[in-house]
Structures are given as structure tokens and as C-alpha cells.
Amino acid sequence: MIIAFLAQTIRIAIPYLFAAAGGTVAERSGIISLTLEGFMLTGAFTAALGSWYSGSPWVGVLCAVAGGVVFGMIHAVATIRFRANQVVCGVAINLLAIGVTRFFLELAFDSASNSPRVPGFSAGVGADGGAAARSGSALPGLFHNPLIPIGLLAIPLVAWVLYRTPFGLRVRAVGEHPEAAATLGVPVHRVRYMAVAVSGALAATGGAYLALDQHQFTDGMSAGRGFIALAAMILGGWDPMRAGVACLFFAAAEALQIDLQGTQALASQFVQMIPYVLTIVALMGLVGKAVAPAALGKEEA
């Protein structure tokens, strides 16, 4: 029971972990990550597309990374090179992702709602109705899907890069005080481009996990998960490890809600609210104030 619960928690947490890891990198460089939702949706779609045409889920993952980087670059060029407002552009990236995935879903698969079944990693919900996920045998099943261990590693990896490598130091420098960083010869724009590309690649991999786990892409598949990752990042005070803990906590709440579904003990809608309410509480400073990178969202270094 406990093991099944943990397994379920980890399954739910993986897309959050990928996206929160990516969002942390971009925001620490000073670029607002309202885009995570769009990156995930794009990644889910391009993963399904790549997996469908190649027959290999790994090609799907590569396509997701490519799709995420392309969308990240659109955002980066608009906001860094052309100084578009980051909030406006972030919202537009999400709308664009919805539009592009729908348009090409229609063109590639002649459907307004979903792709056909594509090769993926796990047995998937189609095969056994998700019974394996709920039964005790779920824990070994976790490792059928290689994106699960990769997702679990993404957070410590980002933490290591941010705090232990020269690139991470530069990211944090341009996010806190771009003028000072520029004076020291740090190429502010280039660092930010790379940070946004990394966030696109990571969040899109989270999206790929969704599509490849369910063996298909469905319209609007990211379903707000990018915003939950954003919430986790803020709740974690822009620190990757703490953001990862927040992701796991949100996922555990969802897993608990799924277990309680039959009992009517708690309406699912109130469990859904948990991440958002906690984020607001964190921003209010009631439990240790969440402080954003100093140059976050500021125009022009």
C-alpha cells in the first residue's frame, strides 16, 4: 500500500520535477517562466510525433527536447533581443503552443483531440487500465520508464550546475545583478539564451514523459502542470532542491486524493487547490518569505 502510494507519487511528480528544474534555471537567470506550460505541451506533442514516425520513444524524447528548445528560443529572442515584455510573451508562448499543437495534430493525425497510439516507455494505461500503477507491484514498474530516474536526477543535477559550475555562477549573477555581471565580462544575453533553452528542453522532456507514458498525445495534455511546477519553484524559493521537495509534496497530495476518490472524504477540487493556495501563502511571507532573483523580469541589462 505504502509502496504503491510512493510509486504513484513519483509517477505524478516526474513532469513537475522536469519543469520545475527548467523553470529554476530560467528564472535564476532573470527570465520569467510563465512559459513552462507551453514548453511542456510542445514537448508532449513533438515527442508523440517523433515516436510515431520513427517507432522509437527515444527519438520522441529527442524531438521533445528540440521542440522545447525551439519554443524557448522564440521566447528568448522576443524578450531578450527585442525586449518584449516577459509576462506578455510568456502568456503568448502558452497560447502559441496550444495553437501549434492543435494545428499540427489536425494536419498530422487528422484529429482535433488526440494522436493514435504511439510507441512509449511503460505498459501504459491502455494495456491494463492503470491497474499496475495502483497494485503493490508498481515500484519495480517505475523503472520500465527510463524518464522516471532521469526526472528524479534532473533536480540534483540542476542544483549542482547552478551552485557548483562556472555556468551556474554566471546564471545566478545575471539573474541578480546583470550590470555587475556585464562589467566582469559575463555575456549576459548569451547566458540568458542558454538558460531559457535549458528550461525549454527540461520542461519539454516533462511533457514527453506524459505523452510517452500514455502512449499518445491528447489536446491540452499538459493540463496546468507547468503552472504547478511554477508554483513549486516559487514555494521552493527558487532553490532547485526545495522546489523538488515541493513537487513531491504536490504529487503526494494528488496521489492521496486518487486513493481517497472512492471514499468521498475530500473533494478532488480542494486537493487541486493545494499548490496554488500554498504558493500565495509563501508569497505573502507568512512562512518565510519567498524572494525572487533581483533582476527577474526586469527589462534590459
Binding site: R83, A84, G99, F103, M273, Y276, V277, I280, L283, G285
Partner: protein
């Protein structure tokens, strides 16, 4: 006013919509070509299906009505220097309150009173949904971009719970029809619009746009609001209580979004339905951007985006209607990215003239 400032103001007003229109045309043509169709015939089809017949125009006007509200919502926030991304939740809250009021009133309530009460309920609940992030910002310093997004999800989940636990007609996700408070269709005044969703909410919403313009540009409160938006420190120094203005601005902003709820609930379906607000909040940002945060600019920009949205349905037979979803995103990014750039280039040009 000197010629230069006049020219600068004209640029400020007309540059974004012109850029938006051009980009939409070019990107639209490319997408149409990519599916092997002729742009000219598809665009003609789009115009025919929107402005070319009374039904199409009625649908455009219906969508315009809601967009004006969420566009005004974002604009009022931006005038005060605040980003209200919570339009969708505030719109849904307004529609829900209007439906509850319409359900609670006896069917015999005189129409004028019933509509007024429902509108008031919509405005009040949208306003409350805006007041919350206002207070969070003013009292606690919680950034409104994040809190309004989070409140969207909270409000929508709460409404979904309310609908699914008993307020709905069984097997649906909507309430029963309101007993009182229905707004007459536009066809009751102009019979040609018969069959379209357009209704007299449009008149109420246009009045709200006029009132918003009057408040922003002709009253002391509006002056304070704009002063805070331009330079909060200076406004504070000038004796304006910035926190209070923020709260007031977001309350007003939310109230305007909430008003939009009457279009669907009172004017069209006569019930609240889960998900009716989807997409309108974010499109409000596009409307405000292209409309330059000016109430009449917002009205025109709403017409533009509503035409685009309805036009997608008109061309669906030859080009996937999802094309307009792509165009919306492209237009927003292009306007946001090109306006600062074009302005910068023009400024260099002008400086060059002066140097000579």
C-alpha cells in the same frame, strides 16, 4: 502640444494595431500556403463568414462583448502598473454570480430590476476576485502576476466543485436556466441578427467601456491610478497612497472581467456552464496590448480578435480552424516584440533629423 509630441502620440496609438494586422496577414498567408490553399480565397471566405452576413457578424459581436470586458480588465490593471492575469477566473466568478442571482430571483421580477441585480452580482463577485490579489499586493507585497494566475486555478476549481456537487442539471456541467434577468438578443432590436448569440449585453459593456475611459482620464481617482502606473515612487511622494490605488485598480479590473460573465449567462445560454470562460482571460492580454490600454482601443482590438476567432470557424472546411489559435499567439509575440523595436528605430530617426 508640439508637432513632435503629437506624432509620438499618434505612433503610440496606431503602431501596435498596424503591426498586429500586418503580422496576422503575413503569418496567416504562410499557414494557408503551408496547407496548399490560396490565401486570397481563404481570406475572402473568412471575411464572408464574419462581416459578410448578419449571423457571422452577430457571432463576432457576441465574442467581442466578452473580450471587451477581459481586455478592459487587463488595461485598467496595466494603467496602474499591475498585471492582472486573473481575468479568466474573475470572468467565471462574474458569470456564476449572475446565474445564482438569476436563479434566486422570482420569475415575476421586472426585467429591468432583475438584469440590474444580476449585473451587480457579476460585477461585485468579479470585483471581489480582483480585490484579493490587490490586497495581497498592497499589504503583503505578493506579486500580482503569480497570485492572479494561482487564483484563476483556485476559483475555477471552486466553481467546478460547486457545479458538480449539486447545482447542475444532472448529466451536464451547467445550472438550470435563470428564472429572471435574461438579457434580450440583439435580434430583438435588429431582426437581421436572428439566430446569432449577440445580445444587448453589448450595450451594457460598451457603456462600461465609456465609464472606464471617463474614470481613467477625467477623474481624480483615475489620475492617481495612472500616476501610480507611470511612477509609483513619484506618486507616493505626491501624496498618493499607492497601496490603496493598487487595491482599487485590481478591484475595478476584476469587476470589469466579472461583468463579461453576463454575456454568456444572461444574454446567450441563460445558465452558468463550467468552462465558459476558457481562453478569454489570456486573450484579454492580447486585446489590451493591441488596444494600447485605451478603452476605445480595447473595443476595436476586441473586434479584431473576435473576427479572427469566428473567422477560424468560417474557413474550417479548407484550412484547419486551429490556424487562428496559432495566429493569436503569433500576433501577441510579434506586437510585444516589434513595438519597442520600431519605436526605438523611429526615435533614432528623429534624433538624426534634429542633429542635422
Amino acid at each position: 502640444m508640439t508637432a513632435v509630441t503629437l506624432r509620438a502620440r499618434a505612433e503610440e496609438a496606431f503602431l501596435p494595431p498596424i503591426v498586429a494586422l500586418l503580422i496576422a496577414l503575413v503569418a496567416g498567408d504562410l499557414l494557408i500556403l503551408s496547407v496548399g490553399q490560396s490565401p486570397a480565397s481563404v481570406l475572402a471566405m473568412m471575411l464572408q463568414g464574419t462581416w459578410g452576413n448578419a449571423y457571422g457578424l452577430g457571432q463576432v459581436l457576441y465574442k467581442t462583448t466578452t473580450l471587451i470586458c477581459t481586455g478592459l480588465c487587463v488595461s485598467v490593471g496595466l494603467r496602474a502598473g499591475l498585471f492582472n492575469i486573473g481575468g479568466e477566473g474573475q470572468l467565471a466568478a462574474g458569470g456564476f454570480a449572475a446565474a445564482l442571482t438569476g436563479l434566486a430571483l422570482p420569475a415575476a421580477t421586472p426585467s429591468v430590476i432583475a438584469v440590474a441585480l444580476c449585473v451587480l452580482a457579476a460585477v461585485a463577485s468579479g470585483g471581489f476576485a480582483g480585490w484579493v490579489p490587490g490586497v495581497l499586493r498592497a499589504r503583503f507585497g505578493a506579486h500580482e502576476v503569480i497570485t492572479t494566475i494561482m487564483l484563476n486555478f483556485i476559483i475555477l476549481a471552486a466553481l467546478n466543485w460547486a457545479i458538480s456537487t449539486g447545482l447542475r442539471v444532472p448529466e451536464t456541467l451547467h445550472t438550470h436556466d435563470v428564472h429572471a434577468g435574461a438579457v434580450a438578443p440583439l435580434a430583438s432590436v435588429i431582426p437581421a441578427f436572428h439566430g446569432s448569440a449577440a445580445n444587448l449585453s453589448l450595450v451594457i459593456v460598451l457603456a462600461a467601456a465609456a465609464l472606464t475611459g471617463w474614470y481613467l482620464f477625467r477623474t481624480r481617482g483615475g489620475y492617481d491610478l495612472r500616476a501610480v502606473g507611470l511612477q509609483p515612487e513619484a506618486a507616493e511622494y505626491g501624496g498618493v497612497r499607492v497601496g490603496r490605488v493598487w487595491t482599487r485598480a485590481l478591484t475595478l479590473s476584476g469587476a470589469l472581467a466579472g461583468l463579461g460573465g453576463i454575456n454568456f449567462v444572461l444574454g446567450y445560454k441563460h445558465y452558468y456552464e463550467d468552462g465558459f470562460a476558457t481562453g478569454y482571460g489570456f486573450l484579454g492580454i492580447a486585446v489590451a496590448l493591441v488596444g494600447r490600454n485605451n478603452p476605445w482601443g480595447v473595443v476595436l482590438a476586441s473586434l479584431f480578435f473576435a473576427t479572427l476567432s469566428q473567422g477560424g470557424l468560417a474557413i474550417n472546411a479548407v484550412v484547419p480552424r486551429q490556424m487562428v489559435d496559432v495566429l493569436q499567439g503569433v500576433v501577441i509575440i510579434a506586437v510585444a516584440a516589434s513595438v519597442p523595436e520600431v519605436r526605438r528605430v523611429m526615435r533614432f530617426g528623429r534624433r538624426g533629423v534634429r542633429a542635422r
